[in-house]
Symmetry: C2
Subunit: 741 residues, 2 copies
């Protein structure tokens, strides 16, 4: 129960906080909360006015408000759009239309939102600002609590109640129902490029999955979907000009052009640009089964069904390659209206080029010293093609080689150093390093990464090498840093658990890109992210429900409760630890490690509680709640063990159950010693007898190691407890669950 209690207290205090601070994410540029609230009931209505009122994105967003509010509140709302001038619960004023062309980098997204006197008002200069403001408004809607003071003047107050459509809204009374707090918000983004790079090649994500992702992105004010459409494992888009790309490069799993057009429209309605990526000249195996003439050797070619960096490259020495690419880029440039076009360019292993006599001869003739030089040659030819089709070219770090024109945008997977270097050289850039969601890191780790700040690890690494620490960028160079992109690579994820790999951590990254640089408190972030995570469910996102179903599948005919409880302290191994396994794209990702969130809230809360406990002087400590939690986790092992023994897909987790038992017992014993003198009432000495400490440290260190692909994330907390017990211990370096393993 401790988790429940902790959660209860933690969120309980955030509820109190909510009277002051609504759980908005990303946090706006400026928020001021007043007492009072605007009722949201069955009389809810919207009016839209201003020069931009007829913009299609605005009218579609207004229609969605009714649908979404109905879902969020359970109040059946008919779309009531008041005529201009008529009073409405929500008044939207949008100054003017924008350029009317496809959404562009830098389009105005500012808005202000004011709730007072029973009315809500969103004002924006341009349509995109309205879209952002509406998301903020929807995040503000909350169930009235006994302390909510709902204002009486709003048209929307009628029918705020649950069963009685007419009685609510009486002055000062708190009706059962929903409201938004009185608040004044001025908001605008810190960065103008706030993206998600989504790999749909290594595992295909069907249309609905991408749409759900766009819904979620819009909800946290991200504005670029970078669609990684081709890689070694699959070519995921129909080309009319080169139909064999998808036909022979995708196992039948690709988007038709009609679907792509639909997706672009869907994204545009939500204020999101779509930038396509076609990775070249490496990560290009899926081009070649259909068009082997693009490759360096004779057919046959096959798409790759494993992971990693593979050898099959596009041949940059043939003129026919550029003719082909001109046709392909031309077709795609027409299909995708965005101004940017991503050509990948990462991770080229030039072995295949170097081994080819014809290519070596070409390199010699063109004085291209090595593979990197040949890739630069390729990039420059490709740049001409991309430019001819009126696009700005974008590429990963590696495309930045001497002589690259300044119009190319660099996306950095290597880090701030590399990004800043590009900016110093005059290139625009985006940061993706530190935002790789597939590495299963906690939200706080991504949240701490800032495109404009060198990470402490980088500084320390450079100091160790006695290398110079990069100085601050000039204001002009800073402007070249456009923002960042989270990245989700799909080697180990599938359409089934995609949402859980993205959410809610992506919301924390979205806040990094949108909110002022000063918004960095992880405690507030976790509190608001928990609320945002629930709120996102009303959009139909499945980060919770899909994993629940997966665990139900694992449990077979047995009730899933004990497995849920067992899994609640587990996390997948971090970084690239799991990638080392042999797998191919048809391997089932249906194991427990696939069915748990990347971050365990229960374990995090336990570790935080341990820190609070240990921070108190010995006499004031009370470990009862912590001990109770450990006891419950421990007792649950007896309930889950029969399931692990019976269900064949779960049996690999017996080692984790054994290790969890060790950790629970060790933690309980440690608390017994540490509580001494406190209300826990254990041994009064405060120290453990004999070799308990050393023995337990050894056992705990063993239990803290990865078990299969799982980490038991209460381990670091238990280690701290054991270490804190007086007595002779071991000094051996310990592996903890928090490290990449």
């Amino acid at each position: 129960m401790l988790t429940r209690l902790l959660t209860f207290f933690a969120v309980g205090s955030s509820v109190v906080l909510c009277q002051v601070q609504p759980a908005l994410m990303p946090w706006p540029a400026s928020v001021s909360v007043q007492p009072g609230a605007v009722a949201i009931g069955s009389g809810f209505s919207v009016s839209v006015s201003g020069g931009g009122a007829t913009d299609g994105r605005v009218t579609a967003a207004v229609e969605r408000i009714f649908e979404r509010l109905t879902r969020q509140t359970g109040i059946p709302l008919l779309p009531r759009v008041a005529a201009a001038g008529q009073s409405a619960t929500l008044t939207i004023v949008v100054e003017s239309k924008d350029h009317g062309a496809p959404q562009r980098l830098g389009d105005d997204e500012r808005y202000s939102l004011e709730c007072s006197n029973g009315r809500v008002r969103i004002s924006a200069d341009r349509p995109l600002g309205v879209l952002r403001g509406i998301e903020t408004f929807l995040q503000l809607v909350q169930e009235n609590t006994s302390s909510t003071e709902v204002g009486s003047k709003g048209a929307g107050s009628a029918g705020a109640g649950s069963t009685d459509a007419g009685s609510a809204g009486a002055s000062g009374a708190t009706a059962a129902g929903f409201s938004v707090p009185d608040v004044t918000i001025r908001d605008e983004p810190r960065f103008e490029w706030r993206g998600l790079s989504l790999d749909v090649s290594r595992h295909f994500i069907p249309v609905e999955g991408v749409r759900r992702t766009l819904d979620g992105m819009a909800a946290v004010k991200l504005n670029v979907l970078h669609w990684h459409l081709s890689d070694d494992q699959g070519f995921r888009i129909e080309s009319k000009k080169y139909p064999r790309l998808a036909q022979e490069g995708s196992d039948g799993m690709y988007y038709t052009q009609a679907e792509v057009r639909g997706m672009i429209a869907y994204a545009r309605e939500r204020g999101i640009r779509i930038v396509p990526e076609f990775d070249m000249p490496g990560h290009a195996a899926s081009w070649l089964p259909g068009y082997p003439q693009l490759g360096t050797h004779a057919p046959p070619y096959q798409i790759v069904r494993g992971a990693g960096i593979f050898g099959s490259l596009i041949d940059p020495t043939k003129e026919s390659t550029y003719k082909f690419l001109d046709g392909f880029v031309g077709e795609m440039a027409k299909l995708f209206p965005d101004e940017y076009f991503h050509i990948g360019g990462d991770e080229v292993d030039p072995k295949e080029w170097n081994q080819n006599t014809r290519i070596r001869a070409f390199m010699a003739a063109h004085r291209l010293a090595d593979g990197a030089a040949l890739q630069t040659y390729f990039n420059q030819r490709l740049l001409k093609i991309v430019t001819r089709h009126h696009k700005h070219m974008e590429g990963w770090d590696e495309v930045l080689t001497p002589g690259l024109p300044k119009s190319v945008v660099i996306q950095s997977w290597r880090g701030q150093e590399s990004l800043w270097q590009a900016a110093r050289e005059g290139y625009q850039g985006l940061l993706s390093a530190g935002y790789y969601l597939d590495l299963m890191q906690p939200a706080s780790k991504h949240y701490a990464v800032d495109p404009m700040k060198l990470p402490q690890e980088t500084i320390e690494r450079l100091q160790k090498k006695n290398a110079p620490i990069p100085g601050a960028l000039t204001p002009e160079q800073q402007k070249l840093i456009l923002g960042g992109e989270a990245a989700m690579w799909e080697e180990l994820a599938t359409a089934e658990n995609l949402d859980a790999k993205l959410w809610p951590r992506l919301a924390a990254i979205a806040e990094r890109f949108w909110s002022p640089e000063s918004v960095t408190d992880p405690v507030s972030m976790y509190q608001r992210m928990a609320v945002t995570n629930r709120w996102l469910e009303w959009l139909g996102l499945t980060q919770r429900s899909s994993l629940e179903l997966m665990r139900m599948r694992l449990a077979g005919d047995l009730p899933v409760g004990p497995l849920d409880e067992f899994a609640s302290v587990m996390e997948p191994v971090k970084g690239y630890a799991r990638h080392a396994e042999r797998y191919d794209i048809f391997v089932p990702f249906n194991r427990l490690v696939d069915a748990i969130p990347p971050e365990s809230n229960g374990a995090r809360e336990f570790r935080e509680e341990v820190d609070r406990y240990l921070a108190l002087p010995q006499g004031q400590r009370d470990g009862a709640a912590l001990r109770k939690r450990l006891t419950e986790w421990g007792q649950n092992i007896d309930r889950v063990r029969p399931m692990l023994q019976t269900e064949t897909l779960l049996s690999e987790n017996l080692a984790a159950a054994d290790a969890l038992a060790v950790l629970c017992r060790a933690g309980e014993e440690a608390l017994g010693y540490l509580d001494a003198g406190g209300s826990g009432g254990a041994a009064a000495s405060g120290g453990a007898p004999g070799d308990w400490k050393a023995r337990t440290q050894t056992a705990v260190a063993e239990a803290a190691k990865r078990k299969g692909d799982l980490l038991i994330q209460i381990a670091p907390g238990v280690e701290k407890l054991v270490d804190a017990v007086a007595g002779p211990g071991v000094q051996a370096p310990k592996e903890t669950g928090e490290d990449d393993q």
Copy 2:
């Protein structure tokens, strides 16, 4: 934890049972299980042969197998359809095509299914049998347990494992993965009409909701969707000929004809007929805003936003009415290909007719004695129209009046007496009485209702009146009973919680219609229904997840766990108890009573355990597990109470929390007395002191009463425990939670 434990044991034993008896629902006509199993892995393939192999329903169903197996197992399957003659994991043989016309009543649905030697074979004479057999096959797929013996000969065994596509399928070894048990099944339905009557008028159900319902229906082998498209509260279908029907009669919530055509095709692909119902001449208020000339008085008319029986009738005396209906029925008869056409005909209150001078004059002129006679006149005119458009007319009980042609099918909401009477008179009929899912009755209650058996209550009622008990039907009359239809009226349900109102109880009714008459054991039904309920989730049904989300909404920012636990022993009030409340169709159904299943498994298991406990002689009783469960429910009240006090939509449930506390304490105390001499170790006397029993009986009777719209369904169990304690008690008649209140 007792619930968990009980569930564990209960389902645990069903797992053991599953080695012998797979959890099929509806239970087939004949099942024989052998040791062994066929592996289902990434090499899974299907072959289809026979004269019916190219039937569109068969090919579509085969495609869906891959999709559905991927969801059920998490194994990514590419559609592998083997050429005829090639070996495959699943071989489907379908003797011949059927008539090619729209599906008809009585179309052959027989199939046989055989799993052995590593292969599965489905054989059927006609396409529908294949569809039914595929559902049975998918229900058979289960995760291997440590005792599964997976055969080695199947092509499908490759890749049965979780991470290793090649290693599974070794002879005799149990790989981690999935399989179907070796089994021989011969199956055919008991009744040929197995339907669900779905009201989409009182609350509109959008297209996706109806599709999900069709998915679920097909999964449990139901074959008729009776689509109740018009009622007082809304006209839910576009008419091209009379567009104002939907435009002015639906608040914009209706199906376009394109959507209807899509739905008919969707249903046909799943072996389901769609019979439309347009309720006339009563329940007809929604026809009249657009076409007031159909009514009895001058306009304006409005659609009804409340519930119940309303006055606005169609005027049967005007010739223009029949001209209109001829046009309308003609249009709908073309749109809906099914041979049957339902004209409603229920619950006509003739007041409006009787008060109208013109109509009274018409009745006198035509020698129509009363409203019933006028309705018969209307029905006979309507029958001519329906017949002219080549449909069989269907109507509710009331249409059966003297002189009604024998071609009309009677749907009985009144009961077997009325249905049997119709059969004796030579009419075909369907039973719906006893299958009303909106009345929130337990599955067992519906399951016990059989169209061919008079309910015990009916017999007793007739005996009391000294009325004759209807004798058995002749074999010929029995053939006129075509089957039955569950009914879901939507006064108190919405699109949000529809799935939870239907499922899993509808699966129990489906078994009544499909399985042999002898299949009646409720214990087996509940065990298999629990498994089926989980299995249905892989189709995307939301009976669990939608209520979870609704409870999360009620919990506001607080963790929902305590509310889930609190709600787990609650059920909505039964029968028409809740209908008495004032409500209209825009009232929010977002309260706790809307967010819980109709039937509480936890409470049912508690009551069953009480019965087992009390059945033992006093010395052998051990109430520890029951007491523990009560203690946990009781302790949870302290956790949920702050939420009930804080969240405004929950505060109405404080009385239920108080009552639950009374029940838990009373049950614990009673167990203490009853355990005496057992391991419980309470007072050794076995009797309670002083006035404990009488006092507690009074308190428990009070706590057992409805609290708002909730019943606390452990109350009957607690009452039994208290009553069993020795000592002087009260003899007053008690209300229990099981009665309709």
